[in-house]
Every structure is written in structure tokens, then in C-alpha cells.
Symmetry: C2
Subunit: 407 residues, 2 copies
Amino acid sequence: MTLSMNPPPDWAALQAEADAPRHLASLVGLPVSAVDTPALVIDLDAMSRNLQRMVEFTRKHDVRLRPHAKMHKSAVLARLQMRAGACGVCVQKASEAEVLAAGGVTDIYISNEVVAPDKLERVVALAQRLAAAGGQLAVAVDSLQGVEALAAAWSGLVGMPQPVIDVLVEIDVGQGRCGVPPGPAAVALAQAVAQVTGLRFAGLQAYHGGAQHLRSPQARRDAIAHSVAAVERTARLIQAAGLTVGLVTGAGTGTFALEAASGVYGELQAGSFMFLDADYARNERDPAQPQFEHALFVKAQVMSVGPAHAVCDAGHKSHAVDSGLPRVLPLGSGPELVYFNGGDEHGILRTAQPGQPLPQLGDVVWLIPGHCDPTVNLHDHMIGITGGLQRGTVECIIAVDARGALT
Amino acid sequence: MTLSMNPPPDWAALQAEADAPRHLASLVGLPVSAVDTPALVIDLDAMSRNLQRMVEFTRKHDVRLRPHAKMHKSAVLARLQMRAGACGVCVQKASEAEVLAAGGVTDIYISNEVVAPDKLERVVALAQRLAAAGGQLAVAVDSLQGVEALAAAWSGLVGMPQPVIDVLVEIDVGQGRCGVPPGPAAVALAQAVAQVTGLRFAGLQAYHGGAQHLRSPQARRDAIAHSVAAVERTARLIQAAGLTVGLVTGAGTGTFALEAASGVYGELQAGSFMFLDADYARNERDPAQPQFEHALFVKAQVMSVGPAHAVCDAGHKSHAVDSGLPRVLPLGSGPELVYFNGGDEHGILRTAQPGQPLPQLGDVVWLIPGHCDPTVNLHDHMIGITGGLQRGTVECIIAVDARGALT
């Protein structure tokens, strides 16, 4: 595992094949003030520090890092993560895997169930292409029917090489979403996978999404202790049945220090640490966890001023609101502003303290999105800048390659 | 004004220039069952009936229909609306206007403020191109600074024709967002517009967004009565100052029957009636308002089944949640299902009554999005079908041309 954030990445080389439209490509080298609003902006300096802290953490704890690319949906950022030390990336959707593979990402894990025969045909075909290029594709299952459908798709493959597909059995460790219950059901599924030619039982998928956003460190510790116990019990049963649990994979930005310390998880899937959204920043930090910085912003502009409020040009077509409204980044000595819902295309800004001056028409405001994943998914491109939001320079245009890749 | 929904539109001709990717284009003519999930699907039969009802309503009430294209962001649907009798469309953003104009839409009103000089340069250049093609572009203002910036952009135009740009003065009729207060401030702004070469004071923009979602007809009547009174008072003052208020434009799907009956509004901007989302369906209907049908759906598939819930493959990257979670369309004799938040890529389904059977792995479910505008903005294409969701056929692929057009 090598760190390559220092010296900083060669963005031009990383994004060589990115196909930014001319009006965006022409921004490179210009000051941040030239970026039209609303726009999604990455503070590359902060993002690089976040990545470096995470790589150092995983190295110190001897776990693999496989960041979730559903967050950034960018082949450039996935490759940057792998260059910095990640073993590969996760995705949630077959089409995300296809798009990232087309962008040069070679090690992809679909940490989710795929059951439609048409999709599974695409998944095994992609596994074949990646294997031929020296890479690999893994996938999760949580039903016998899913294993059978995957096996059927695999047996329909023609040509060489016939890839061996790593299959992770997903157990529900507290999220209440996908996954079989920990225990005997997972053993049966692991055995079913192991019996299929072309599939390899690789271990357990065990992600507790609900635990990520529990605000107190103690609540997160309790939740992940429960997850770890469920994983240990299940792994013992599977091993008693004669199979090896090669890997336990899971964890997110809210809890990964706990999974890393468990001695059970071998791989961390956290993704949001790269950008750190407003919702994750509301978690009370566990001292064991590295400190991350906000690195993703919506640049917006005041386009109307009322008697006691201003209106900016970014609404919830510019940022997702599923985890709350964006925070307004305090800048310099200006008054603290609070963002209120103004609909699809507008944000209402009021001063936090009465009597403070409102921003003026044309002023720039920087928003910290409530939730980075679905915010990124609203944009075709992210504007990468260095040197700070106020006086920085546009360094690169990063395509959100898998934006809208839903299937 | 002519109705041309009967015979039904020639979709192939309407979308001739649409650039659907091959895997979608090949769906045309296939049964709905061939559509991969999740996907945004339009029931074209229901949408056509909605449009016909709206055109009949506006004809009967002698008001113009200028539907808001921020809802569908599609040049094909904008042209369909104009062919059916709409005078043009509204948009919220300069880039939306550019994209729709490139798709053959000739009469566009930016019902929102544009203040950035770079954007205004694009706006006046587009006005010039549309005027040269026999069309027109109008824009709203709510500040002297905005009028001056628009005038400066206009005076920078080179070449012929020099378009005359219709400018609507926005007044805040209850929304508390953009717009000057009704009364003298609007008069001053109208006078400022009238004094600028190249700009024509065309009337008032008066939209009460908050009133659209008031559930009781009486609450909506009260809100719009307030709006109408504010418009009348302002129009009298402007006319007393020697200017003509040629047009009052506004209204949305929740209230348009009220604005139409006011005798004051000359143009209705409702957009959502075409698709009717779950949130608008929660309004108690005013008998004066036509009855619309749901016409926009997310086709989703069950990809995991737990002990007391099923999981479908559509989360809030497939549908917007700002106006609530989607409803599950009841189909045939199956149990009533309720959708719970499952995150970005998943939806949790439970039966409304305990003890009823859950859907099975691979089953299709149809979701009615909470809010159509930002839902459409998540998708690159809409799959147009006829003949019903269960046994229908894919008729056309409609590009969401202005998806992500934020600036």
C-alpha cells in the first residue's frame, strides 16, 4: 500500500480521458470566481488530506480500504483512491460497475444484490472483461434464488477466460434492509455458493447503515458491537461447516474505526470521508476516528433580496435534501447565514442573528450539502479547485461518470 | 388554439431528433416488461388526457397556457404542449431555456431572476436567436440592479435583429421568496424597465408557490384571493403611472382554477398537471379544477425479501423525496404496499395490513413519485408507454434534455 498524495496528484493525467464540455474545460487555470452558479465544487486540497488520513488509518489497523464509489461515481476519483492505497471500490449497481470499468477501474465489488437475469448477464460479462484485464468483479447475494440466477448467467458465458466470481453472503447486522439473518441462513447460502462452478464463497457482507448516523459515539459503539457479534457467530457456524470466511467487508464513514478495531472486519467500505457532508459532521466524533474536513460544496449566488431574506440560485435540484438542508459555510467576518427550503431552484437565506446585514445581490455563498452521495448524483461534473474557495484556482473538471446509473 | 391529442401524437416524429442510447431505443415496440429497473415511465395515455383537460379548461376560461417546463425538462413534451394549444413554456434557468431552444422550442419565458452578467449575455443572445427564428424569450426581474444588468447585456448585442425582450416584474404575492412587495416598488421597477431601449414592460409575474400544496380548497381560495388583491392593487398603480400591464402570469397545478377565475391572470404556468405527483394528489380537489391522473411512475423490482419486508431497487437516487416518499401503485388484487425510506438505492416495502403476503423476489412494483419535477431531473430519459403499465407497449423514449441544467 503506497501513499501518493504527496506530491499531489497529476490531475491532468488522471482526467486525460474525461470529456468535459468546452465551457467547463476552459475554466481550468481560472480563478474560482469564474465558476458559474450553481456548481458542485471539490476542494481538492481538503479531499486529498481526507484520503491520506483514511489510507494512513487503514494501514495502521491492517485492514483493506475499498471506498464506496456510489458516493463520487467518478472513475478518476476511484483510480485516485486505488493509487493512494485502496484495493478497489464498491458500487451498488451493475451499471455503476460498467461505467467505472469503462473508466479504467479494475477491481469492483457490487456490495448489493442483483437478481434480474438481464442484469446478471451484464454482471458476468463484465466480470469476464475485468478478469481478462487482470482485474476482478465481486458481488453480494442474500437468497438462494439469487445464487441460482447468478449461476445461470455464469453458465451462459462464452469465450475465455471463464472468470471465477467472488460472492459475498450479505447478513443483516442491524440495518433491517437486505441480507439474510445472521446464523444458519447464511451458512446455507455460503454452502450453496460454494457448490456452484464459477462462483467462490469469499466471505460476508455486513454493513450497518443505520449505525452511521447515530450521533453519540456510545450509540455507534453499541450498534457495531451487535454487528460484530452477529458476524462472529455466523463466521463460526460457516467455518464449522467446513468453509473459509476469507473476508468480512462493511463499515461506513460514521463507524469504520469500530469495525477496524473489531479484529473481524478485513475491509472498510466508507466513502463519504472523502467529501464529508453536513450530516456526517453532525456526528459527535469518536476520538479513534480521524478528523475529516468538508471538501464538497455547492457554489451559489444571491439572485434576489427581500426585506428580511436573500434568495440564492441553488435549490434541491442542486443538492439532495434527504439528510437535511445544506449548511452555509461561514466565510471571513460575514454574518452567519441559515439556509431554508426555497424549492427546486431557490434557497432562502436568513441571518442567524437578527439585525445582521443580509448578503447583497450577486454575492457568492458556499453550501455544504446535507448528504454528498445523492448531491453528486445531481451533477454531471465536479469542479476541482486548489488554493481555497475564495482565492483558489480551478485545477480540473471531474466527470460524474456514473451519474444516473441506476440499473 | 387547437387540440391535437386526438388522433394521438406521432411520437416517432416528435422525438425524431432525440438521441436515445441504443439499449433504450431498442425498447420501442417491446412490452413494458422489457424495461430494466429502476426506470422512469410515462403513461402517455394518461398524460395526453391530462393535457387535453388542461387545454380545454384554459380555452373555456379564455386564458393562455404556458406550462412550466422545469417539470419535464423535455423539448419533445414542450413542443407537444405547444402543438396542443400552449402559447409557449416557462423555465427557471437560462440553461434550461438554451437547451429547450436547441430542441426546437420557440417561445420561452424565464419566470425567474437572472442577475449574473455572464448569464445575461447568454440570455440576450438566446433572445436574439429566437427572435430571428420568429420566436421570443421573456424574463422576470425583481431589482433595479437586475434591470440595469439586463440592459447592459442587451446593449452589448451585436448583429441583427436587435430583439425586444419582454420583461415581467415579479411581485411577491405570498410565497415569501423572490419578487418585490406589491405596490410602489413594482411601479418603480416597471418604470425602470419601460425606460430601457430593447426592453418592454410586459406585465407582472405573480406566482404563489406556497398556496399550491395547501390541502383544503378553502385555504387555497384564501391564499389566492390575497394574491389576486395584491396583483389588482399593483396593476392599478402601474396603470395610474401611465404604463400598460399587458399580462399577469402565474399559477400552479394546485390553484390555477382560482387564478383563471380571477379575471386578472391572463396566463397559467401550471406544469405538474401533466404527470400529477403523489403530493399534488394529496390536495383535496377544488370542484372547479379538472381531474388529473397519475402519469409518471418509477418502475422498480423487488431484489431482496426479509422476514417482514421486501426491498426494491429504487431509492432516492430514482425519485425525489423533498415532498415525501413515493406511493406504491396498487395493482389488481395484490396487497396494499407502503414504501419506507431505504436510502439512496433501496426502498423498503411493507404490507399496509399485517399478515398479508409480501411481494416475491423479482416482482415489479410501480411507484408514484412524491414530487415530479426533481424526480424527472434524476433521469436522462423517460420511457413513454401506451396500453397500461401491466400490459402496455413502449412507444417512445423521451430525453430529459435539460436534466442537470442548473445555471
